[in-house]
Symmetry: C2
DNA sequence: TGTGCTTGCGAAATCGATTTCGAAGAGGTT
DNA sequence: AACCTCTTCGAAATCGATTTCGCAAGCACA
């Protein structure tokens, strides 16, 4: 049986209230009894019961990390996210609880909040925009502070932390334009998310600024369900009358697979074709050639999300927290000046 | 204010006890009242308070994942571990709580256990053997089920899940021997862990079986603190009278850095030198050449650890859970028949 | 009608800590 | 001596659910 406050009370001959006050550093305890209590607590190995404390305080000092997406699809991202999040949380005496089987289940999130086992939640990979707004409303009704990550939510009252993908895609495209590319392919996702729209917007902005007309045939949708789609989309690009001299891929893994398909087609990268990824995963740095990509400040996003959430938890009246972090262009060897042979 | 069992009791005109029994499917409730209670609970959006339930049941349905190692050093490993762990836990209605700032702090782990905020813990990257045994004793005294991961603990009473690194290193060495290598370098870690001993044992076993004498000059210790050590250890190998024709590295990242150092020294891999890694991280598959390595069943280890822990939690008298999982040799392009030029 | 048994329900205790509120005692002032 | 203030402490209520135990009603049977 663990040592309870009752045991302490008995051995010291002091009431439970006084013990509690001494341990919580309340003013109405004499310095003498306080030290006696602390000493005894240490000697007996007393540690307050988390459950009892939570019940009384109506607070758990736990933050829920709710992953509303098949977790194996985002574990790379999570591994960059979690260390920062956990560290910041623990500095504030909070811990992270993982809820990963929450795919598309608004109701389960609601139940989680109603059971009050966390003081606030971070919702990683929220659903489409309309559902996100509805979900946020639900959580607001339950009075549970929450933050969406890592996608922006176009709504003034909703807190989120995201990366500036408009800027990222624009910089990447500008980089290619500066190298001399005019026909730049863009492989986007079929799912309609803000992230995708943002990157597409960045891509078109850069083209417009450079006076390059938008060519719809250069934009294809990757089918994330189909592992071999990559090869076929590659063929689609190559089959064009005037194939692109550079291709932007929505994520690094897509770009890495494109790299090996290029090799299989005897297309040299970057001499014959420039390839760029997005996300800056570790693997992108060790390919041959190393991948030009855009690095999101993933770790920082996690840190910021926790900090913002803590602010919302601590200060009930706090403003919605909205952060869009800049991203960083990483130029490596997979992009270069286009070959002028056919031009 | 959230809906409590009291509210339900009031609106239904039924005692709290009966509500509780109905919700927990106890036998002494009539089918009629049970449906009425369930209906009302649903209508009012009632969800039992986790804190109150935990306090009363003396059980939290939470598993602690305690990381006793600088988390950014192991986040890759964690990202493979966590999805499986979380999934299995959640199927059994448990959740994972992360405790990452537990580096070298036996006392904080003890306090965690005393506060009873988890029903059991998984200790990732336990300290040295002697400390591990002491820690296990401490947790046993507190009556908290626990499992060590991912290192074996040479002690009959202690539960752990680990990978068979003796087998892994032996297979890797045998693979090189089969290719014709006789002088095989081995870069181990300076820290004295079972893992390291195991791999070294596998290495020497393979040599012995092949009748190749052990040459201590072929075994160097990497200094994990020093990022540039890799380059110097590489020089150490090259400066030998008879340099190795193949080198085993303790981890993939070390091998990947060696790959680029080799390139800088104009040493071709695998023609001039075979290089092998260990762990099978994603990056190891996209290097040029792709790395021969050994893949641990990391995800499976996480799953097994949670399953074992749940067994210990559920069945107090369960045997210690000890699992050593086989590892898988992955032969890729960084190892090949040695060049006979100088032989 | 009286006895025995089953079924369904509720009063009250309990889990362990926190907090409110009142009281006792010490010390000072008039 | 009467009154006040300040410090220190403890009794009791509270957080919300679960569980034990006893009671009452209903039914069957002699």
């Amino acid at each position: 049986m663990p040592v309870t406050i009752k045991d302490l009370s008995k051995t010291l001959g002091v009431s439970r209230s006084t013990i509690s006050k001494a341990l919580n550093d309340r003013p109405d305890v004499s310095p003498d009894t306080k030290t006696r209590v602390l000493q005894a607590a240490h000697d007996l190995g007393y540690q307050p019961s988390a459950a009892a404390r939570n019940l009384r305080r109506q607070r758990t000092n736990k933050i829920g990390l709710v992953v509303t997406y098949p977790i194996h699809r985002v574990s790379d991202f999570l591994s960059e996210l979690i260390p920062g999040m956990a560290t910041v949380a623990e500095e504030a005496e909070y811990n992270l609880i993982l809820y990963t089987s929450m795919v598309g289940s608004e109701e389960r999130i609601q139940n989680l909040c109603r059971s009050r086992e966390v003081d606030g939640i971070i919702i990683a990979w929220p659903p489409r925009q309309s559902e996100t707004v509805a979900l946020s409303q639900l959580l607001t009704d339950e009075d549970v502070p929450h933050i969406f990550l890592p996608r922006r939510v176009p709504h003034d009252d909703i807190s989120y932390v995201a990366a500036d993908h408009v800027q990222g895609a624009r910089q990447l495209t500008q980089h290619l334009i500066a190298l001399g590319h005019r026909r730049i392919g863009f492989e986007r996702l079929p799912e309609v998310y803000e992230t995708d729209d943002d990157r597409h917007a960045g891509y078109t902005q850069a083209l417009r600024q450079a006076g390059i007309p938008y060519d719809a045939s250069l934009v294809v949708s990757a089918d994330s369900q189909d592992d071999d789609y990559e090869r076929r989309s590659f063929d689609v690009f190559q089959a064009l009358d005037e194939p692109p001299t550079a291709i932007l891929f929505f994520t690094d893994p897509l770009a890495i697979r494109a790299l090996s398909h290029a090799k299989a087609h005897c297309i040299r990268v970057p001499q014959d074709l420039s390839i760029a990824g997005y996300d800056g995963i570790p693997s992108s740095g060790v390919t041959e050639p190393a991948l030009t990509t855009v690095r999101q400040a993933t770790s920082k996003m996690g840190v910021l999300a926790v900090e913002s959430l803590l602010k919302l938890i601590t200060d009930g009246g706090a403003e919605p927290q909205q952060h869009i972090l800049p991203v960083e262009l990483i130029v490596r060897q997979s992009t270069a000046v286009p070959w002028k042979g056919s031009a």
